[in-house]
């Protein structure tokens, strides 16, 4: 074969624009024409569902949006499905943010969940409160764990939280569960100041955080882990509430298979051209 015309060389040195174009196509087409492929539910998601499903009307959950808006797109399905399940179980919810970009998430969240909130008569002040951006750093997390009302006196609109269900929250002992939806902004601070003291916690994190978060599930600091967008889709399937997660699973699947395909053809090209050229 000549140096210029070589299929192996083409595979080894594939133009990255072709990769970008093909990835764009395999991600866009299933969104426009959903296929609804089957989805197996992993043991991690089943455990997460079990923890949330055990909540009741006497429980108070700290719902922490520990994410920038960019990362929220990956855990959006987990956030919405978890919030839906908490509302259905009647547990009280205090929503807090640890990044300024996350303050835009609660209005979108409750707009999406308006039907289930009306169905279960889930009211602001009685059943849920939005505290806003109250965890700007680890010092705020540490303070809230020791003396919640010493740190948080108002909700995100400046209205006092006195007189709401948060009157019963004084420190780390009083939360029934802390549900963290994280891209890694402040989750380690919650581990240190809540988890290690024994407050039950669950986490929904992005894919790259899963290997470093799993040891905490193994040691019991996190009761369960919901893995990334796929975990959110599995949770949507478990609670029978299809949402953005399930809608994205088709392109998730095709995207993965395309990356595997490119790895394979790149290796074929490597052995057929680069390796042989080096040996010659």
């Amino acid at each position: 074969m000549s140096e210029e015309r070589n299929i192996f060389r083409m595979l080894a040195e594939i133009d990255r624009r072709i990769i970008y174009l093909l990835l764009f196509i395999v991600v866009t087409v299933p969104i426009l024409r959903p296929i609804a492929m089957p989805l197996a539910v992993s043991p991690d998601t089943k455990q997460y569902y079990k923890v949330l499903n055990s909540l009741g009307p006497d429980d108070t959950v700290l719902f922490v949006l520990d994410t920038e808006f960019s990362g929220y797109m990956e855990i959006q399905s987990g956030v919405l499905a978890s919030a839906r399940l908490i509302i259905e179980k009647g547990a009280k919810m205090a929503i807090a943010c640890s990044h300024p970009e996350a303050t835009g998430i609660p209005p979108m969240m409750f707009s999406y969940l308006r039907d289930v909130m009306e169905k279960y008569d889930y009211k602001y002040g009685e059943d849920y409160v939005v505290l806003g951006y109250i965890f700007p750093n680890e010092a705020a997390v540490a303070s809230s764990a020791q003396d919640f009302h010493g740190v948080v006196k108002e909700d995100w609109r400046g209205r006092p939280i006195k007189g709401t269900f948060l009157d019963g929250i004084h420190d780390w002992k009083d939360w029934s569960l802390i549900a963290i939806f994280s891209t890694g902004v402040r989750s380690d601070a919650f581990i240190r100041h809540y988890g290690l003291r024994g407050t039950p916690m669950v986490i929904n994190c992005i894919g790259v955080m899963i290997p470093t978060t799993k040891p905490y599930v193994d040691t019991g600091i996190f009761k369960a882990l919901l893995p990334s967008m796929r975990g959110g889709a599995e949770l949507e399937k478990l609670i029978n509430a299809p949402g953005p997660g399930l809608a994205a699973m088709d392109c998730f699947t095709f995207g993965h298979y395309l990356v595997i395909f490119f790895i394979i053809i790149a290796n074929i090209g490597y052995f057929g051209y680069v390796r042989r050229r080096a040996e010659r």
Binding site: M73, P136, H256, L258
Partner: protein, 213 residues
């Protein structure tokens, strides 16, 4: 008198006292100290927030220098400074409604999402170029990565149930072991560094340039 407050010893005394104020309530239930500790931490958080003002000031100084000297890509610096000024003005006009809210919803959040989304393209291109079986170890890494990546595709778990135990074995043994090694190393390093700071062996933390020998 001022020389004492500027000295390394004074800074170390303040640092050790602050450490004890926060450290002791974690292990011993002393209500008065807990309350003081919370106040102390809140003060520290507020002081920390003021450093943002310093950061914005230094960005402006640097940006204006770039623009005045006409350095390469000075236009982006100008755009950044205009953005900072506009967001500060918008924030004073109310954050819940109005231009600040519009800027967050219409500009920052979509751009933030795009910033994250385009990583998928770079990641795919990098995977194709980096994951090559150059030797036996690389081949073993490739096989393990291939199995985990294959399992992560939702359809695979549904049509090939047997792949789940294999993929979970890789993630729950090797991956978790290395994650633990990383976490333990970082934690031990942080503890050692903290002790060195409290003993005054890291003068750079206090703003002094020469290290104690």
């Amino acid at each position: 008198m001022s020389a004492f407050f500027r000295s390394r010893e004074a800074m170390l005394i303040v640092m050790v006292i602050s450490f004890l104020i926060v450290f002791i309530p974690y292990f011993f239930n002393v209500p008065a100290l807990e309350e003081f500790s919370t106040t102390w931490i809140t003060i520290a958080a507020i002081v920390n927030a003021f450093t943002l003002v310093l950061a914005v000031y230094s960005q402006f100084r640097r940006g204006i220098y770039f623009i005045r000297t006409g350095k390469r890509a000075w236009g982006f610096k100008l755009w950044m400074l205009i953005g900072i000024i506009l967001m500060i003005i918008f924030a004073t006009m109310g954050m819940e409604k109005g231009p600040y809210s519009w800027a967050m919803q219409a500009i920052i959040t979509p751009l933030s999402s795009v910033n994250y989304g385009i990583l998928a393209f770079y990641l795919s291109s990098t995977c194709a170029r980096a994951f090559r079986a150059r030797n036996l170890k690389a081949f073993a890494l490739l096989v393990a990565g291939f199995i985990v990546l294959f399992y992560q595709a939702p359809l695979t778990g549904a049509i090939i149930p047997g792949i789940e135990p294999v993929a979970r074995y890789f993630t729950e043994t090797f991956a978790m072991a290395f994650a633990r090694v990383f976490a333990i190393s970082v934690t031990l390093g942080a503890i050692v560094f903290g002790i060195r700071v409290l003993l005054g062996k890291e003068p750079m933390v206090l703003g002094f340039t020469r290290e104690e020998r």
